[in-house]
Amino acid sequence: MSGTATDEYSAHQHDVDEALLAEQGMEGRPYELRASTTGLFSELRADKAGLLSAVFLFIVVFAAFAAPLLAPYGPVEGNPSTSSIPPIWADGSWDHVLGTDTQGYDVLSRLMYGARTTLLIGLAVVAIAGLFGVVLGLIAGYRGGRTDRWLMRWVDVQVAFPGLLIALIMIAVLGPSMTSVIFVLSFNGWMVYARMTRGVVLAAKERPYVEAAEMVGCRPRRVMFVHILPNLTSSLVTLAVLEFARIILAEATLSFLGLGLQFPEVSLGVMANGGRDAFFSLPRLAIIPGVVITLIVLAVNFLASWLRVVFDPQEREKRFAAGATTAATTVEGVM
C-alpha cells in the first residue's frame, strides 16, 4: 500500500469532503425554516375539528363561568305556574328558549349554571387525581424494586375495593357537598393514572436517551420530569379526557343518590338525571343536558388530539411533511 494507496486515499478523501458538504448544506433546512414561522395556532387552523372544538369549548366555558351575568333566570327561579313550557322550536316563546322543566325552572339558565359546576368538578378531579397518580407512577416505575412493589400493591388494594361503596362511606363521614364530591372522585380515580404512568415509564427508562441523561449526571428528579415525563403527554392527555367524561357521569350518579350536589346546586349530571322522571312525556329534559355532555367530551377529545400533535415534535414534523410533499416534489423535480 504505497503508490496506489495515496490515490485511493485522496479519492476517498474527496468523497468524504463532498459527503460532508452535502450533509452540512441540505439536511434539515426546509423544516427548520418553516418551523420558525409556524406557531401553535397555525397548526390549530389546519386542524378543522380541533379549531371547531376550541371555539365550542370557549363558548361553553365563557357561558358557564359568566352564568350569573348572562343567564336569563336563576338556576332555581320559577314556580309551578311556569312549568313545562315548550322550547322555541315547539311553539315556545323567546322568554324560555329551551323551555322549562317540570318544576318551572328555565332549562337554558340551568344548563349554564350546571355546566359551570360540571366543568369545575371535572377539571379539579382530573387535576388532583392526575397529579397524584402520575407522580406515584413515575416514582414506582423509575425507582423499581421495592418502592415499585409497595406502591403498586397499594394501587391494587384500592382498585379491589368497590369505588361506589367507598364513596358512600366517605360522603357519610364528610357530608355531601361539592368539595367532598371532588375529594371522593379524586380518591377513587388516581390509580388508573399511576398504573398507566408506570407502564410508560418502564418502557421509557430503557431508552438510550434516558440512559444518556443519567450518564451525563442528571439527578433522578430531572431524569423523571425532563426526560421521561414528556413521553407521557399523549397517553396522559387521552386518559385525562376519558376520565373527564367518566367523572361527569360519576358525579351525576352521586348526585342522583343524593350524595353529591345538594338542592339549589345544579350540574349537567343532575339535570340529566332529573329528566329521567319525565323521560316519556318531556324527553328533552334529559336529552338536552345529555347532548351538551356529549359535545363537551367530544370537543375535549378533538382538542386533545391537537394538543398531542403540538407537543410531539416528530408528529409535527410528520404533519409538515404531509403538507410539504406537494411543494417538495416540484422543487426536487427542478433539482
Binding site: E23, Q24, Y209, E211, V216
Partner: protein, 342 residues
C-alpha cells in the same frame, strides 16, 4: 503481514500515551440472574456475561475492545462507567477504587468519565434542541447557570466537533446519522472528561461517514488528551485509533496486545478468524486469501463449558482445552493470549 485494509483513512497518528494508568480493571466478573432452574427452583440460573477480565488503560491511550454480539464488550464498558454492578473484581479510576461508588459521589464522577452511544438516533432526546442536549451536563453539574448561559461554550464545542454554527437551535431529527453522532460526542465532551467509553460509536453509521467520525475522535484525543475505551464488533474500524486491542470472546479475554501486533501476528485462533473476516478491497487478493470460517456454536452463557470458551469452534481444539481453561499469558512482550498451543 496479514493484509488488512486501511478502512479508516489515517489523518493523524496516534498520540503517545503516558505511563500513568488511568483505568485498571482487575478480575472483573459480571453475572446476571435470569431465573431459577431445578424442580424446586433451588438453582439460580445465571448468565456469565463477563468472567475474570483484567486490563488497564494508560492515560492518553485508546484501547480497542473487540468481540462479537453477546461477548460482553458492552457490559465491560458499562461496568467501568459503573452503570452495572460487577459480581466480582475491582475497577480503579485515577488510582481510586470506584467499584462501590454510588449516589451523589457517582454522579460527580460522571464529570470525568463519559459515554458515546452506539445509536445516534435513540440516544438524543427528540424533544430537546441540540443546545439543550449539549448544555445539559454543564447545567446539572453547576458549571453553567442556565442553558442560555452555556450557549457560547456549546457553540464553540459544536464547531469543534464539525457541526454548523446554527446547529444549536435545531432538534436532533434535523440531522443525519453522522452529524448526530457528532452531537453525541460534543455532549460527552462538554464536561471535559478524561476518559470516554465509545460503545460502537460508528457501527450504526454509513461506511462513508465512519472514517470522519473516527478521525474526529482521534483529533479530539490529540487536542484534549483523552483516553478512550473504543468498543467495536469487528477489527476493521479499531485499527487506526487503537494503541492496543483486547479481544473478548464469550465473556473472557482471548488476546490483548499492541494494535499492530494483533493485526500482524495474531496468536489466538479466534483473532485469526476475526482478521480473515475483514474483506480486502482488492478482488484478486481477496479471492486468493484463505478465509477461516468458524464452525460450531457460541457456548451458552448460562452454562459455559469447563475449559476454554472457544473449544466449540476452535480449529486447534485438543482434550486439554475441554478440561481446563487456558490462562491469559504473556506470550511475547506486551502480547497476551489465552491459548495452550500458541
Amino acid at each position: 503481514m496479514t493484509a488488512v485494509p486501511e478502512s479508516t483513512a489515517l489523518r493523524v497518528g496516534r498520540p503517545v500515551p503516558s505511563e500513568e494508568l488511568l483505568v485498571e480493571v482487575d478480575g472483573l466478573s459480571i453475572h446476571f440472574p435470569v431465573g431459577r432452574a431445578g424442580f424446586w427452583g433451588q438453582r439460580v440460573k445465571v448468565v456469565h456475561a463477563v468472567d475474570d477480565v483484567s486490563f488497564a488503560i494508560r492515560r492518553g491511550e485508546t484501547l480497542g475492545l473487540v468481540g462479537e454480539s453477546g461477548s460482553g464488550k458492552t457490559t465491560v464498558g458499562r461496568a467501568i462507567l459503573r452503570r452495572i454492578d460487577p459480581t466480582a473484581g475491582t475497577i480503579r479510576f485515577q488510582g481510586e477504587d470506584i467499584t462501590a461508588t454510588k449516589g451523589e459521589e457517582l454522579r460527580l464522577l460522571r464529570q470525568h468519565m463519559q459515554l458515546v452511544f452506539q445509536d445516534p438516533y435513540a440516544s438524543l432526546n427528540p424533544r430537546m434542541t441540540v443546545l439543550q442536549l449539549v448544555a445539559e451536563p454543564l447545567v446539572v453539574h453547576g458549571r453553567a447557570k442556565s442553558v442560555e448561559a452555556a450557549k457560547s461554550d456549546v457553540v464553540s464545542l459544536l464547531e469543534r466537533c464539525g457541526l454548523p454554527a446554527d446547529a444549536a437551535d435545531r432538534h436532533p431529527h434535523a440531522f443525519s446519522g453522522g452529524q448526530r453522532q457528532r452531537i453525541g460526542i460534543a455532549r460527552a465532551l462538554a464536561l471535559r472528561p478524561h476518559f470516554i467509553v465509545a460503545d460502537e460509536p460508528v457501527s450504526a453509521l454509513d461506511v462513508s461517514v465512519r472514517a470522519q467520525v473516527v478521525n474526529l475522535m482521534q483529533d479530539l484525543q490529540h487536542e484534549l488528551g483523552l483516553t478512550y475505551l473504543f468498543i467495536a464488533h469487528d477489527l476493521s474500524v479499531v485499527r487506526h485509533i487503537s494503541h492496543r486491542i483486547a479481544i473478548l470472546y464469550a465473556g473472557k479475554l482471548a488476546e490483548l496486545a499492541d494494535s499492530d501486533a494483533v493485526y500482524e501476528s495474531p496468536l489466538h485462533p479466534y483473532t485469526e478468524a476475526l482478521l480473515s473476516s475483514v474483506p480486502i478491497p482488492d478482488p484478486p487478493l481477496q479471492r486468493a486469501r484463505r478465509r477461516i470460517v468458524l464452525q460450531g456454536e457460541i457456548p451458552n452463557p448460562i452454562e459455559p463449558p469447563t475449559g476454554c470458551r472457544f473449544q466449540t469452534r476452535c480449529p486447534l481444539v485438543q482434550d486439554v482445552c475441554r478440561r481446563q481453561a487456558p490462562p491469559l499469558e504473556e506470550k511475547a512482550p506486551g502480547h497476551w493470549a489465552a491459548c495452550f498451543f500458541r
